[in-house]
């Protein structure tokens, strides 16, 4: 059992604020699409904030993380700033990647963030390769590979776990199992038991966590990472979670019931932490109202500022294809 009293107040507030920041950041993206001010596609992680924050809060700037198409939570969790991230989502010159990457291809190397990734399962070898560098350079950092339940059907999942184990690489595989690969339920895509159990086939210590409980994710991930630093080899975490939105902006969610969605909304990781902190006497309800209001105001400013930024000059289109 996770005992909230064992957590430092500042840490609890940080976990809470980061989750709220991710939630409100994505609410702004949703708003931007509704106003036709953001274009293309987007994959929101609303509901899944507990996994991103629970894992990333352990990471240093010299640790690496490779994310997925559903990557705003991991980006913010890894320390990216909302303004250049929003600008990137909008395709603006002031974005982390000058608007050339967009939501599915945003990276910021100074924070060890090796990119969101538009190919399901595409990030696993990349994160494993970053772990190879860490081992080669004898650093005590780690590399985190986020992926969804859909990705475990890709060859890259099996190949990467296999090589990470053979070569004892410090890569933490984090599966965010939100039960749906786009529309297809995990029961139709994963054979032979749970995703966490697959780790055993590769000799990788694996655990299964309640991804809707940020404190559980934080505590258990912390224990694994402590073992990994300085030669501990790969680990696998399966976080059971849920995305409240559809797969992407055009998804009408015909493959699941509103009742199921409502069940998971009751388990909201943000509300849960807030409730537990109030019950434990760590913070008052008023404090949370203030925090939410402050972040909401910040996000309104971020959104407007990003919207006011210029698009890149067309001369950018043909730059940086090669290193010249």
């Amino acid at each position: 059992m996770i005992d909230i009293k064992e957590f430092d107040r500042e840490l609890l507030l940080k976990l809470y604020k980061t989750m709220v920041l991710i939630r409100l950041f994505e609410k702004k993206i949703e708003y931007g699409f509704s106003r036709n001010q953001i274009h293309g596609t987007t994959h929101l992680c609303i509901g899944q904030e507990g996994t991103a924050v629970g894992v990333c809060s352990h990471l240093r700037d010299t640790d690496y993380a490779v994310s997925t198409h559903r990557g705003h939570g991991h980006s913010i969790g890894k320390g990216l700033e909302p303004l250049p991230l929003m600008a990137e989502v909008m395709g603006k010159q002031g974005g982390y990647c000058k608007g050339k990457g967009g939501t599915q291809h945003v990276a910021f190397l100074k924070k060890g963030f090796l990119g969101t990734n538009g190919i399901t399962g595409g990030g696993l070898p990349i994160a494993t390769g970053a772990a190879f560098t860490i081992k080669q350079k004898k650093r005590d950092d780690i590399s985190v590979s986020f992926f969804g339940d859909g990705a475990v059907a890709q060859g890259t999942f099996h190949e990467s776990l296999n090589m990470a184990s053979l070569w004892n690489l410090p890569v933490l595989f984090v599966c965010e199992n939100n039960m749906y690969g786009m529309s297809t339920h995990v029961s139709k895509t994963v054979s032979g038991g749970s995703i966490a159990e697959r780790g055993a086939a590769y000799g990788i210590e694996s655990i299964s966590l309640d991804g809707m409980n940020v404190l559980e994710v934080y505590e258990k991930t912390g224990e694994l990472i402590k073992k990994m630093r300085g030669g501990g080899g790969p680990k696998l975490i399966e976080c059971h979670t849920y995305r409240y939105s559809g797969h992407s902006k055009s998804d009408m969610r015909i493959y699941r019931t509103r009742e199921e969605e409502n069940e998971y909304k009751k388990k909201c990781p943000i509300k849960r932490l807030q409730k537990e902190m109030i019950e434990a006497g760590v913070e008052t309800e008023e404090k949370f109202v203030t925090i939410q209001k402050e972040i909401s105001i910040t996000m309104t400013d971020v959104y407007q500022e990003a919207l006011d930024m210029p698009f890149p000059d067309t001369s950018e289109a043909l730059k940086e294809i090669f290193f010249e």
Binding site: Q136, E320, F322
Partner: protein, 327 residues
């Protein structure tokens, strides 16, 4: 003229390049199947595992997509990996990591990163290996922005272009010719020509042959015969790299001869020859005396049977028969 004592084979040249890079730069690592004690399927890795150890000469499981991806992830974070894909045909298994990841990161991430990786692989046929071990797939990669492509035709280029590629910050695909692995030549002390520059191997006034890799040798042989037996004066250009593509050297030659032929080992449709023929037509139309000609394999898989393989793959004999009445 080949000298048995001082010359090196194409394969030895590749081996020497990898060895020298491993020796001079500790960030260089080598991934591939059977590159340990076995020394690589063709022997390009011979002696490297013994010399540099298993942490730098990394024998990989048969997982082309992911060990290529691991190499890309390692390149993104500071290493300079070399990847051996045992046969070029197997590069199909690694297409996602090459096309969607390694060659796009620099661009998609707004120039924040470089991906200094070299993927080297033996392509082409002529060794009776059949359809899944004989293909020339380099034409596909012309359409992958962000990828440098080398197609060396001789031991010296095989060595020095590879050494350059390992130290270059861009991703490189080096397509070696498995049929040329045994051919010998002098390695010299460095590149005779800068990277990205085609080489005029034989000067001639009447026809320009543009080619690369193994077809350079078939074209040179054909040129000799065409001169001796038919009195036709052929210029032969070895492209050396397909990206960069040195069209200027090609145009200069075509402006002189007025006739252009592209010779490649891969299939005709949508191939390297199609691209070069278009460029020549766009830029030298007024000078051309006849339409640009392409000599390539037909749009067929490469068969195993020696008689059939020799029929399908372009050869000096076919070049001669197609060009003897070209004027």
């Amino acid at each position: 003229m080949s000298n048995k004592t001082t010359d090196k084979s194409y394969l030895e040249a590749v081996n020497e390049a990898i060895s020298e890079e491993l020796a001079s730069d500790e960030d260089v690592v080598f991934f591939g199947e059977d590159i340990g004690m076995y020394g690589g399927a063709f022997g390009a890795a011979r002696g490297l595992w013994e010399k540099y150890g298993s942490s730098r000469v990394v024998e990989s499981p048969i997982s082309e997509n992911s060990f290529t991806g691991i190499a890309i992830g390692a390149a993104l974070t500071g290493l300079k990996p070399i990847v051996e894909i045992m046969f070029m045909d197997f590069i199909t298994l690694a297409m996602d990591q090459i096309v969607n990841h390694g060659t796009k990161f620099r661009y998609m991430y707004g120039g924040q990163v470089t991906v200094p990786i070299v993927i080297r692989t033996p392509g082409g046929g002529g060794r009776r290996y059949g359809s899944s071990h004989s293909q020339s797939l380099e034409g596909w990669f012309l359409r992958v922005p962000g990828l440098r492509i080398a197609v060396p035709s001789n031991p010296s280029d095989a060595k020095w272009i590879l050494r350059y590629a390992v130290q270059d910050k861009n991703p490189w695909l080096v397509v070696e010719s498995k049929k040329l692995y045994g051919t010998r030549g002098k390695l010299g002390n460095g590149l005779r020509l800068p990277i990205g520059k085609a080489e005029v191997l034989r000067e001639g006034a009447e026809i320009t042959i543009v080619t690369y890799s193994r077809m350079v040798h078939e074209s040179m042989e054909a040129a000799e015969v065409l001169k001796a037996e038919h009195g036709i004066d052929v210029e032969v250009i070895d492209l050396r790299t397909l990206n960069p593509l040195d069209v200027e050297t090609v145009f200069d030659s075509v402006k002189k001869t007025g006739r252009a032929v592209v010779v490649e080992e891969g299939c005709l449709t949508g191939g390297v020859g199609a691209e070069i023929a278009s460029r020549i037509s766009e830029n030298c139309f007024d000078i051309l005396k006849v339409p640009v000609k392409r000599i390539a394999a037909p749009d067929s898989p490469v068969p195993m049977s020696p008689v059939l393989e020799d029929f399908v793959l372009p050869s000096a004999g076919r070049i001669i028969s197609e060009l003897k009445d070209f004027l």
